[in-house]
Amino acid sequence: MHAAGYVLDHSVVRAVADRDVDALNTIEVIDLTGAMTILIPVSVLWPELERPKRHPEDDLLPVDDMLIEMGVVIFDELTLARAHTMARTWRTLTSLFPTTADPGQARMLLMPHVAACALERAWPVLTREPDLWRAAFPDIELDII
């Protein structure tokens, strides 16, 4: 595994699925460095990865397969070993965002996992939602697309 890399949050996975030019450029530039790994936490990201399958022009290779197959991409499964940290972070998040409207339950489940991956490796989170991250995890470094 590379010693340098990025952790993708759901907003960037969705941006790749939507073929956003900034997201695609960033993924390709990271890949071309040959020295960085992209980490995708998979706890609740799979719905985002499933979504692009609906694109009719994806006969050749769906976008989700593209991300999965890129040699530079690895996945991190949520494990019981992280349960305690995740529960504590969940409590912090629910106190910061007491309503269920925003950022949303699924995202609030995902964010601690993304945060744990980023903190464990001292990697930045690649995101399109910096305000959310700054409010919830001010110690985590962000790169914004």
Partner: protein
């Protein structure tokens, strides 16, 4: 093509699968089976990169100016971050070498 001999550890169920394919005549040997699996992974990675490159090219042709700006932003951001992470890694290595007395 010449072959390199390496030692790897493999999950028992996968070894069983490979041996079953060899026994059934679907692969010449377990080595050939593993070789083909690695070759297949390489092909799938290449296809993924081709798809990404094709999507990037679509953007470049559709709006060259906006694409160039986006590309410059991405390159600057990633280059800065990689340099930072490599410097940190070097710092950690120096500290480890110093801590163990291995530094010259």
């Amino acid at each position: 093509m010449s072959k390199d001999r390496i030692t790897v550890t493999v999950d028992p169920d996968l070894v069983e699968l490979a041996e079953a394919d060899v026994a059934a005549g679907r692969a010449r040997s377990v080595s050939a089976y593993v070789n083909e699996a690695l070759r297949d992974k390489q092909r799938r990675q290449a296809r993924a990169r081709e798809l990404l490159a094709a999507m990037v090219t679509e953007h470049r042709l559709a709006d060259p100016e906006a694409f160039a700006a986006s590309r410059s932003r991405a390159e600057a951001m990633v280059a800065g971050r990689l340099a930072q992470q490599e410097a940190r890694q070097a710092g950690r290595q120096d500290a480890a070498d110093g801590g163990s007395g291995a530094a010259a």
